[in-house]
């Protein structure tokens, strides 16, 4: 391989690059011309230093191994702004999702919140269970006080289908 990242002495991993490209329905990733619109508007940039344009460029060059094991790919809040506004339809969001799937496949460290969300979906069918809301007047609202029906626990068929989706990706 003729390309080397002199900061980390990393070499491109073209096999993983192919894998990620195969996961993406749109191949716009290779069209990215670094206009930086995605990063300028990224919701996760200010707090979490996610730079979608860098991720797209790194994947395009094949520097994937470090990315797949980093925490940064888990900071995307999936607001889909980059997907909607990208002038080259490169969709950094989908690239990040493909990286996350690759990370799970490699059994890299997955942030606890995500694992919790998965178990909650399996148990109650929701990523975030219903919580109480307190207004400015200190009134407390919950499903019961609003006379909303209780949420039924998911059926077994849902759980098996959900597990199947997880395994497939």
């Amino acid at each position: 391989m003729s390309l080397t990242d002199l900061m980390s002495m990393a070499k491109p991993n073209l096999e993983s690059r192919e894998k990620i490209l195969a996961k993406l329905t749109s191949k716009g990733l290779v069209n990215c011309f670094q206009c930086i619109k995605c990063t300028s508007g990224c919701t996760a940039l200010k707090l979490l230093e996610l730079k979608p344009h860098e991720i797209v460029k790194l994947v395009n060059l094949g520097f994937i191994d470090e990315l797949a094991s980093s925490d940064i790919i888990w900071t995307c809040v999936t607001c889909l702004k980059c997907f909607q506004r990208c002038p080259q339809k490169a969709s950094p969001y989908h690239v990040i999702m493909a990286l996350r799937n690759l990370a799970v496949e490699r059994e890299a460290k997955v942030p606890e919140g995500y694992l919790k969300a998965v178990s909650r979906i399996l148990e109650v069918g929701l990523a975030e269970p219903p919580a109480e809301v307190v207004t400015r007047k200190m009134e407390i609202f919950n499903r019961e006080s609003l006379k909303l029906p209780n949420i039924a626990s998911p059926k077994e068929s849902f759980q098996t289908a959900f597990m199947k989706i997880l395994e497939e990706h």
């Binding site: 011309f33 206009c35 508007g41 940039l45 344009h53 506004r85 002038p87 080259q88």
Partner: protein, 667 residues
């Protein structure tokens, strides 16, 4: 029996690098009726052509097959060479071994050679059935129609008129001048746009060879190269062009306020007004959508009628139809400008201080809505910070994929103008993606902008927002510093790109000129015939063919004018003999051909058949472009395409199929 000569061209290594020439030559020799096979490095070179000519003479060849590049490239070259040797030029068949074989199948040389053999075999099969054809000559009308009175139309008209050709210049707007008249300065020299354009506009009005038809539209085009019949409708101005002296007394008394189109709606004019300060013809026009008397069709208002000393106002004016006969046509109808409100996140039309580049041109211009002072539209104050945002609607797969070619330079010019107008205390930023300064003197101009302390941010904003106090702000990540920057400008100027004119679809249909994938009018060849459309006698100039700056537009306009002069100067032209002909005995008069002919070349005639009056189709040879639609649609096979007869095409098909069956069945 025909004696066929087959010539295989190497095209350097273009063909020979993939196709095994020896095998093709050997195979061609085995084909029936082939008297001679030769190969050569460059068939199109002088020695290559001479080789064919000598063989025709010494070996009495009567059909020639040349396996070489696309016929679009060199068919004409070889036809001339064959004709010089005394053979009818239509007894030549070109087999395309470059675009269709070697360039298309670089990875599979073995299969490419097989395909080359098949194509040569098909070519030989067709060549046997070729018939000699003669070109006819027709007289041409020595006058020209120029559609569109922008700088392209003006330049082409002046060139043609100076060369002695009568020109009809048709402009849809009440005045010529087009987009260039709206611009303040031009890059990279900062020439005043009006100062270099208006003398040309006046020249058009003064030139006795030019008949200017402003406020007019082309309604119908018939005929063929050299003999076009054009119908033009002159829309009513409700003002007599001959009588109006351009004093504007009418505008002063008119009570109806109308958004000023010339100023991009940033100021108001009246329902009766002169189009722009430099209008040619300098004649007032009434806008019938706003004028009280025309709108309500009642005897109301009439203030202009009283004020006009020249008695030029005429509310009874009707559309006027003008019939013209012209030999050539130049289309110069210009382009539109992208509407940035389609990109919601940029806030155009939502915030008053987010404006387009063409609006900025009007604001900075002395004859514009603010008298040349750069002021924020929201509060009328002078901006302290201006940000220009590049590539709006261009290089964007969601809207237009192409580069608008003028955005970067127009923005640099506007930034320099802003610096000149507002002085050194104002902050000017340009948010860009790539800075494309490609023309003569353009990169020097880019440096000049940097000298003037204009800041460049390498990154485009994602969205432009407004906070509670109403001030605009946005984030932009800068590639240069690797920092997320926040900008709080008073004025944002969007570099909207050039887009296909709204009228292009209509114009394309009217003139049978096709459009390329980007929506602009399609030239006959992107490199070798950039000034012509695919329709003979119709030429293209300016931004209707693709986005262009002023120097390129003027160059193309002068080029198109020269092409028309070349076409019409001999007084007559040769017509290709590739036409459809109707067999009257087979024609059933069903009129399908008449209904599908895109060139209106089929006419139905009543003919006496066995004592009965019957409808029969007839092809007007001069109008037929040889597209073959009628021949394939005819249910009774009554229409034959010369040079592409059913027999010739079927012979090719048979040649292609036979070998395949013998290969399978023979083993």
């Amino acid at each position: 029996m025909p004696k066929i000569g087959v010539y295989v061209c190497h095209c350097g290594l273009n063909i020979a690098g993939v196709v095994e020439i020896d095998k093709v030559v050997k195979y061609a020799k085995s084909l029936p009726d082939v008297a001679l096979v030769r190969d050569y490095t460059y068939m199109c070179s002088a020695p290559g052509q001479r080789m064919i000519q000598e063989d025709i003479k010494t070996h009495n060849l009567d059909r020639i097959v040349i396996a070489t590049c696309s016929p679009r490239m060199h068919e004409e070259t070889f036809r001339k060479a064959v004709a010089e040797a005394g053979l009818n030029p239509y007894l030549l068949e070109i087999v395309n071994l470059r675009e269709q074989v070697s360039w298309a199948h670089t990875d599979e040389p073995g299969k490419a050679t097989e395909k080359a053999k098949d194509l040569v075999k098909m070519g030989v099969a067709r060549a046997k059935l070729l018939e000699p054809l003669e070109r006819s000559r027709v007289q041409v009308e020595k006058s020209v129609l120029v559609v569109g009175g922008g700088i392209a139309g003006i330049q082409a008209s002046l060139d043609l008129a100076d060369a002695g050709f009568p020109v009809y210049l048709v402009e849809k707007a009440p005045s010529i001048g087009g987009r260039m008249a709206q611009l303040d300065k031009t890059f990279p020299t900062l020439d005043c746009s009006a100062c270099i354009l208006t003398p040309k506009m006046v020249d058009v009005a003064k030139n006795s060879n030019i008949r200017l038809l402003a406020n007019s539209e082309v309604k119908c085009v018939k005929g063929f190269v050299g003999n076009y019949e054009v119908t033009i409708v002159k829309m009513p101005r409700y003002v007599d062009e001959e009588k109006c002296v351009g004093c504007e007394l009418c505008t002063k008394v008119c009570p109806v306020k109308v958004p000023d189109k010339f100023n991009e709606g940033l100021s108001q004019t009246r329902a009766i007004a002169i189009y722009s300060p430099y209008a040619v013809p300098k004649v007032a026009t009434i806008n019938p959508k706003y004028c009280l008397r025309l709108k309500y069709d009642k005897d109301v208002c009439g203030k202009c009628l009283e004020a006009c000393e020249a008695k030029a106002i005429n509310f009874q004016q009707q559309p006027d139809t003008v019939q013209l006969k012209v030999g050539g046509i130049i289309l110069a109808i210009g382009s539109g400008i992208f509407d940035a409100s389609k990109i919601g996140e940029l806030g155009y039309r939502r915030h008053k201080d987010v404006i387009s580049n063409i609006e900025f041109e009007r604001i900075v211009n002395a004859s514009g809505p603010t008298g040349g002072k750069i002021l924020c539209p929201s509060n009328g104050e002078s901006p302290k910070t201006i940000v220009f945002v590049q590539c709006v609607g261009s290089r964007d797969k969601r809207f237009h994929e192409y580069c608008c070619r003028v955005g970067c330079m127009a923005t640099l010019k506007q930034a320099v103008l802003a610096r000149e107008h507002l002085g050194k205390d104002v902050n000017i930023y340009i948010c860009f993606n790539d800075m494309r300064a490609f023309g003569k003197g353009y990169d020097e101009f880019y440096r000049r902008a940097r000298d003037l302390d204009i800041n460049f941010v390498a990154g485009l904003p994602s969205d432009i927002r407004e906070d509670a106090s109403g001030s605009i702000h946005f984030d932009v990540y800068d590639k240069g510093t690797n920092k997320l920057l926040e900008l709080r400008p008073d004025l944002v100027v969007l570099a909207n790109g050039l887009i296909p004119n709204d009228d292009l679809g209509k114009i394309g249909e009217l003139f049978h000129v096709s459009r390329s994938a980007d929506g602009f009018l399609l030239e006959a060849h992107p490199k070798l015939r950039p000034l012509e459309s695919a329709v003979a006698g119709i030429f293209l100039a300016g931004t209707c063919q693709g986005p262009k700056d002023i120097p390129d537009t003027v160059a193309q306009a002068s080029g198109a004018a020269a092409k028309v002069i070349d076409l019409l100067s001999h007084g007559e032209i040769e017509l290709e003999p590739l036409k459809a002909i109707v067999d009257e005995d087979l024609c059933s008069g069903c009129r399908i051909c008449e209904s599908i002919c895109p060139f209106l070349a089929v006419e139905m005639k009543t003919k006496n058949v066995n004592g009965k009056e019957k409808f029969r189709a007839e092809v007007i040879e001069a109008m037929c472009q040889g597209c073959g639609l009628c021949a394939s649609a005819c249910p009774t096979n009554a229409i034959k395409m010369k040079h592409y007869t059913d027999e010739q095409v079927l012979a090719q098909v048979q040649a292609a199929c036979v070998e395949k069956t013998t290969k399978k069945g023979g083993s």
